[in-house]
Amino acid sequence: MAKKKTPQYQDRKYNYPKGFTKYGKSKTGFMTAAQGAKAFVTNNFDQIKKGTIPFDSLTQREKRVYRGKNNPTFENLYRYGDKSYYDPTRSLRKILDNNPELKGKRDLTNFLKPEDFKNLFDQRLNPTKYADGTNSSFYDFKKGDKKQFYRDESGTLLDIVTKLNKIKRSGRNIRVIDTDGKIYTGTQAIDTMRQYESEQLQKAIQAAKEGQQIQLQIVYLSTDYNPFTNTVTYNLNNVQVNNLKDTP
């Protein structure tokens, strides 16, 4: 008996919109499925969100594009020039959407001066100016909510311990010097670091009132990399713990 064939996934056919030009030449015929799905979801995003265009009526590819666009991380990720910036306060989206000319815009390259954009993200939206994914963790959540890490301007989590797990998997050795001088390596080193961060976080949570925003930055000031042994060492005796909510 012939094997039953599973129906093959089919994309929608997307015509180039009227007047669509590429490299100065107008295009006719069909767009590629990836480009078409993106254009379709972008053009109909509001209708899909409202349900005027049912989500179920979308093709798999369109659903995937829509999920990406509807994701809060995506929604709060902006581009300026060739860089991406994340707005942890999520306030910029609402502000831009209140202005018809800026509604839905995520690439702000030609909409703001470089210095104004920098001012906006560094001074007004970004609560941490110096946090760096290679030397710090940054906890940013309300007391009572699930603990969360802050994302830096490129959208990556400021969570050094998780990062170390990845580094370790890539073959690098991890060494941690504990507060009492003991040296830990490998998984134990990472556990020691997480334990240290938990203690610091616990202190901050206890000091905060219910519902209060906790913004705790833990910066490992002494990090050392030995290229011969491919080992990175973090010293817990030289750490700066900043409770940003207490910092004027």
Partner: protein
């Protein structure tokens, strides 16, 4: 009665002007220096030296006098003089991307300022006809003279001791005309939407892909408002962004034409964001 002095006219020569002023100062003379867009005059007790930038034919001054005469008699003048009018006469699309367009569409209002004066009943048919019979290069200075502005610096015994800014009494009429044309351009830009690129004084530049319906609406509005317009051939339009400046080069009617303008949208957008951030 004012004593008649000797007068001499020269073409603008900043180093000669400076030398004469320095000489008068050293000799501790009493004199007045008048700077305007059109000329610089050094008015001494014995002679008046005039340095002109361009020599306008007598008909330019005749046209200017005709405009002023009409403005004195127009019932709308008083009302316009009391208003506040913007002299911003360019703008670009918010978020205009640097790009190269092989062809773009340029709609120019023909003789925008004389028509504006006439449509608004600020000048008579006779003055309008007189202006329209002049070449463009003379028409513009004749109208621009109503906004003439000059600085008078008085020197006593070789020392500058006072200065005064003198503005044409009808300057606000000229600013009103500018704003009328700019408002019309902004209206057209709004209709064009995504097809709008930028406008400059009395010409709007659009993407060639502008839907015909929108283009018809723009031209209908121009006609309804009483203006004539023409399509200009524009090729190889290159838009470059340098910070908040837009540098635009194009070939218009076979001649290279550069434009440089501030992108006012950048500051506007930032102000809007800041205002809402403060209110949040």
């Amino acid at each position: 009665m004012r004593k008649k002095t000797n007068a001499a006219t020269y073409y603008k020569n900043p180093s000669l002007q400076e030398s004469i002023i320095r000489y008068y100062k050293e000799k501790q003379l009493n004199f007045v220096v008048k700077h305007s867009n059109y000329n610089t005059q050094i008015i001494g007790s014995e002679a008046t030296l005039k340095f002109i930038q361009t020599e306008h034919p007598i008909r330019v001054f005749v046209a200017y006098n005709k405009i002023v005469k009409d403005l004195k008699e127009s019932p709308k003048t008083v009302e316009i003089l009391q208003g506040e009018w913007s002299t911003d006469n360019f703008d670009s699309r918010n978020g205009l991307k640097p790009a190269f367009y092989k062809k773009i569409l340029n709609l120019d209002i023909s003789s925008a300022y004389p028509y504006c004066l006439w449509i608004n009943k600020l000048i008579t048919q006779d003055t309008f006809n007189y202006l329209m019979a002049m070449p463009k290069t003379e028409r513009l200075p004749a109208i621009g003279m109503i906004a003439k502005k000059s600085v008078w610096i008085t020197y006593t015994a070789g020392k500058a001791d006072s200065w005064e800014l003198k503005e044409g009494f009808y300057a606000n009429i000229f600013f009103y005309v500018i704003q009328q044309i700019t408002d019309l351009m902004a209206w057209a830009a709004e209709i064009a939407g995504d097809s709008f690129l930028f406008y400059w004084v009395d010409g709007i530049f659009l993407k060639p892909s502008i839907p015909k319906k929108k283009l018809d609406e723009i031209t209908r509005i121009f006609s309804e408002q009483g203006y004539y317009f023409k399509y200009e051939k524009v090729e190889n339009c290159n838009i470059v962004r340098d910070g908040d400046k837009l540098l635009i080069n194009m070939i218009k009617n076979g001649q290279e034409k550069p434009y440089q303008m501030y992108d006012k949208n950048l500051a506007r957008n930032f102000t809007k964001v800041l205002q809402q951030l403060e209110n949040a």
